[in-house]
């Protein structure tokens, strides 16, 4: 079957496992499983701008969703804040680091000669959240020089799990499943802007199954599956 026949979803890569499970579960309701293209939110947004045949966009942050809605490329009434996440401080499994993540905690000392791995704090959502959190906790300036920015949050996690970096800031969803790291602490919810994965139908979307797909993704059944992967569900279940 050609991709055109199906609902086409452009989703941030970090959602793969969760969204794949939801997609499968939703097949009866929608009629046919959606085709999901996972890539960086930035790439997906630009592709939609370039005329991609996507019906649904799931971004890893609000910025890229806003980028499209500003250009009237999404249907504003369909935009929903779908999922939430947390960021955590991780260390290699064999690390002896222990701390509580709170205002003014001595992150610099904990990092020592090593590096603090996190997503690119200008570009990668997890990096942006991490930086904001460290700033609000008042420790940013002390560790800024020790930050190793990764291409994406998965790469940051790899740096920690291989012992390359002493510490890292990643999503809770990533940390739980990675055996090579241990979670040292969770950043307080209020230390950073809320971590939100918004979803919306694109302006060009014509596929009649799209509504059904959106409805299912926002359903309670889907919520269970998302929660299994460690996400918090923001959309009101219907």
């Amino acid at each position: 079957a050609h991709a055109e026949d199906k609902v086409v979803v452009f989703a941030a890569a970090s959602l793969k496992d969760a969204l794949d499970a939801v997609n499968k579960a939703c097949e009866p309701e929608v009629g046919e499983a959606a085709t999901i293209s996972y890539a960086a939110s930035s790439a997906l947004a630009k592709q939609i701008e370039g005329g991609a045949p996507a019906d649904v966009f799931v971004s890893a942050d609000l910025d890229w969703m806003k980028y499209l809605s500003d250009k009237k490329l999404t249907k504003p009434d369909t935009e929903v804040k779908l999922l939430g996440n947390q960021i955590v401080l991780v260390a290699p499994k064999d690390s002896t680091v222990e701390t509580k993540v709170e205002k003014g905690f001595d992150l610099a000392k904990l990092t020592g000669d090593g590096k603090l791995a996190m997503g690119d704090f200008k570009a990668v959502p997890a990096g942006k959240y991490g930086k904001a959190a460290l700033e609000s906790l008042g420790v940013w300036s002390s560790v800024e020089g020790k930050v190793a920015q990764a291409e994406n949050v998965r790469a940051a996690l790899k740096l920690v799990s291989t012992g390359e970096a002493a510490l890292g800031i990643v999503y809770a969803t990533d940390a739980y499943a990675e055996k090579g790291v241990k979670v040292v602490g969770t950043f307080p919810e209020d230390s950073h802007p809320p971590i939100i994965y918004p979803i919306a139908q694109t302006a060009d979307s014509k596929d009649k199954d799209t509504a059904a797909f959106l409805k299912c993704v926002e359903s309670a059944k889907a919520a269970e599956l998302f929660k299994e992967q460690g996400f918090t569900v923001l959309a009101p279940s219907n």
């Binding site: 991709a3 085709t35 293209s37 790439a43 630009k46 370039g50």
Partner: protein, 234 residues
Amino acid sequence: MNWLLDLTPDEWNAVRLSIKVATVAMIASLPPGILLALLLARGRFWGKTLLNGLVHLPLILPPVVTGYLLLLTFGRRGPAGAFLAEHFGIIFSFRWTGAALACGVMGFPLMVRAIRLSIEAVDRRIEAAAGTLGANPFWVFVTITLPLILPGLIAGAILSFAKAMGEFGATITFVSNIPNETQTLPSAIYTFTQVPGGDAGALRLTLISIVISMVALVASEVLARRVGHRMDIE
């Protein structure tokens, strides 16, 4: 071996698609690759430096940038994309053809260089000898130059193929990562690396990718050796 080949249908499709994309990219690049290599090796014209730079561009630019430029140019709304779609019905955007275009473009500098080096090594006195026997420049090229540069052609083709098997940045940026349509092996591998516990899957696909490329590589070596044997320089 079993675990290696125990793939999901989508993964099988990625394998098939990668081979198709790499093969098409390689074959479609050959004619323009030969032409440009010839121009760069032999031509003397204004703007040659520029052309040379242009050919190398995909090497110099980060793949993501190349991908964006392709999107801007050959996308549905891009000038070339709109033109081709309207007049020839050729659509690249979010089709496997687009993946092939991206891979072809990324491998192009490698192919052109290999062919160009071979052309520059051809003894032009042999070509002149063919000319005295009545062959016009076109026939000289077909009957003398082309066979003599075959090893370089093969090297260029295999470089382009191998590059296509590994190309990811430009492809995913240009045509996204749509299963069964534009999800090549590298995109699939990328997707795996983006989820917790995806390493095993990524490794498996990586190994498959290596096996395919190795088969192509060995075939190219055998071919090149046979061609070379056939002609040990006089």
